[in-house]
């Protein structure tokens, strides 16, 4: 389907294309079943950022506010990249492992049920 427009060739460049972010790409990160954070976070990071830098550096400040975050066992936590199972490689860059501009990363920690076991 497409827009029914009075202008012939109704076409615009995507406002959020990679080139507009001054060398950064956007990565979204969400923690499933932990709704203390109302939504996934949006991070602008260089594509050369390693997964380790993302996880232990970038993500730390916002996620550590959750009472369960320090209990997360990264050995057993599972990940989805753009809704498909994903095994992150800590020392490789985002770009090298297919985490693209506006990719969504979700992690799951089934043993942690959220604040008061309520998914919060």
């Amino acid at each position: 389907m497409s827009v029914v427009a009075i202008t012939p060739d109704y076409k615009f460049e995507a406002k959020d294309r990679f080139e507009n972010f001054h060398g950064n790409q956007i990565v979204y990160v969400g923690w499933d079943h932990h709704l203390m954070f109302c939504s996934a976070f949006a991070y602008p990071v260089p594509p050369a950022t390693t997964f380790k830098e993302l996880r232990d550096g970038v993500m730390q400040e916002a996620f550590e506010m959750h009472p369960e975050y320090s209990k997360v066992n990264w050995e057993t936590a599972t990940w989805l990249l753009d809704n498909k199972p994903f095994e992150p490689q800590l020392d490789k860059s985002l770009q090298e492992q297919g985490i693209g501009h506006k990719s969504l990363l979700r992690f799951q920690t089934p043993e942690l049920k959220g604040y008061k076991n309520a998914g919060v």
């Binding site: 029914v4 294309r17 979204y28 506010m65 998914g119």
Partner: protein, 502 residues
């Protein structure tokens, strides 16, 4: 011989249709260049019937009378320090949301109807749009006048037009209307006159305004009901437009249905803000959002769609999702704002114990299970002196632009994630409805001005959130934002009450 007074029907005919003229020396298509490109087929404009048969002379007469009554009340309200009679200073924050989020839409509606009113070949439609355009201008003016009284005493009212154009959460209502106004004239009418005015605005103007009255806010209740007295006419116009289009040509039916599907969903997302105003921002409650949804959408809208079934129109797509969302949407929306209270131009707060109990009672299947724990965590943190403000920027839905905080309705502890790929770019959505809208017209929504991305692209002034809020949004930091507890609004309110100024 004295001429017999014209009856209503003849008068309407004389003062609308008879003002029209034929185009004998010019091309009619050139005079109305936007009338055909959307694919809508009009075979006979004379079939357009305004059931109220309101003519311009009667319009001015009644509008003038409404206006006189309204301003008499504004004067009385202000002369009697009406702001001191509201239930609680927290309530005033709902009015801040209204001024920055809704009143500018009235102005957009004024511009929109002025524009489409010029574009229709039928005189009846042109006159109806002209009246509605003037009505909408009146609404923004009366709302600004009513709320200017609050601006003298409370924070957050000072820069509403500027904020509407820039602030992150106000991009939700702004982009809604930008979307409608950048569509063709018939889609605009279905979007605003039908889906918005007829199907949805009752939820904003009727139970919420009744709530304003119930919270001692005479000024807001009065401008709301005065505006709504025009809306009753707009609603009738909305119903008339849809019947007219459906009767004109069967080819119009699928086009109209597609627009109903789109604008119903766009509208329900916009109303998430009203839902939270109803459930969380009115200290004295009238009805819950869920109850309001049942009365004003499920019953009233249900009757409407049953009536339209004979034209081959069905209920809007995703209506079954809204039946589940009514249990959740207000709680999820208020949590988004509470956790972003540092970045909002109004105050947020944890509901009082009585309010939490009221919510449990009104939402027996969902509140204690899913939402009360969030407030218990918030309370715990507040008690430690660490009022919870989230520290990173949220992912936004490309279509509705709301932070992606809405959940799967059958799995309410899991955020709903939807996405589409279009020409090599990824796009994210909060719901099937928002994804569907994007997929229908991706060329339009690739242009979404998403506030979080705009900040990261460096288009919002500052290098950090504080600079964006202060310099680009022009929020008065430390006054307009943060929790109600400890705010200047709260301090002044307590001072007035202590001194017994009231």
């Amino acid at each position: 011989m004295v001429a017999k007074k014209l009856n209503l029907k003849d008068k309407y005919r004389a003062l609308t249709r008879d003002l029209d003229w034929d185009y004998d020396y010019s091309d009619r298509k050139k005079a109305f260049p936007y009338e055909e490109f959307e694919g809508i087929k009009i075979t006979d404009w004379s079939k357009w019937e305004d059931p109220f048969r309101l003519t311009m002379d009667a319009y001015w007469k009644y509008q003038a009378e409404k206006e006189k009554k309204l301003y008499a009340i504004f004067d009385a309200f202000s002369q009697n320090n009406g702001h001191l009679n509201v239930t609680d200073a927290r309530y005033v924050n709902a009015i801040k949301v209204f001024l920055t989020g809704v009143s500018p839409l009235e102005y957009q509606a004024f511009q929109g109807y002025a524009h489409v009113g010029r574009q229709f070949g039928g005189a009846g439609a042109r006159v109806a749009c002209q009246m509605q355009s003037i009505d909408e201008l009146r609404h923004v003016q009366t709302q600004v006048h009513a709320m200017s009284h609050y601006n003298k005493f409370f924070d957050g009212f000072q820069d509403w037009t500027h904020m509407h154009d820039r602030v992150w959460y106000l991009s939700v209502p702004k982009s809604f209307f930008d979307d409608a106004r950048s569509a063709g004239p018939f889609e605009f009418l279905i979007a605003i006159s039908f889906s918005f005015e007829y199907v949805l605005t009752n939820l904003l103007f009727v139970p919420f305004m009744s709530g304003a009255a119930h919270n001692g806010d005479m000024a807001t209740c009065t401008f709301g009901f005065s505006a709504q007295s025009d809306e009753a006419r707009h609603m009738t116009l909305g119903l008339e437009i849809i019947k007219f289009l459906l009767e004109q040509h069967e080819d119009n039916v699928p086009i109209v249905q597609k627009w109903i599907d789109k604008w119903f969903w766009r509208g329900t997302r916009l109303l998430a803000i009203v839902a939270m105003m109803m459930d969380y921002m009115l200290p004295n409650k009238v009805m819950s959002w869920k109850e309001a949804w049942e009365v004003y959408f499920e019953d009233a809208g249900g009757a409407l769609f049953k009536d339209l079934a004979r034209y081959g129109i069905r209920m809007p797509k995703f209506v079954e999702t809204t039946a589940k969302e009514k249990e959740h949407i207000s709680h999820q929306a208020w949590w988004i704002f509470y956790t972003h209270g540092h970045a909002a131009g109004f105050h947020t707060w944890i509901p009082s114990d009585e309010e939490l109990d009221w919510l449990s009672e009104k939402y027996p299947d969902t509140f204690d299970k899913y939402y009360r724990p969030r407030w218990e965590l918030a309370k715990e943190m507040e008690a430690r002196g660490e009022r919870f403000y989230t520290k990173a920027l949220p992912q936004l839905c490309t279509t509705c632009q709301i932070p992606m905080g809405f959940t799967e309705m059958d799995n309410p502890t899991q955020i709903a994630y939807r996405s589409s790929d279009y020409e090599g770019e990824k796009y994210h959505f909060c719901s099937d409805g928002c994804k569907h809208i994007f997929d229908q017209e991706p060329e339009k929504y690739v242009q979404s001005w998403l506030p979080v991305h705009q900040i990261y692209q460096g288009n919002c002034g500052g290098a950090n959130v504080e600079e964006v809020l202060r310099d680009y949004y022009k929020m008065n930091l430390g006054e307009d934002n943060m929790d109600f507890k400890g705010s200047s609004d709260e301090k002044r309110w307590n001072e007035w009450k202590r001194k017994g100024v009231a």
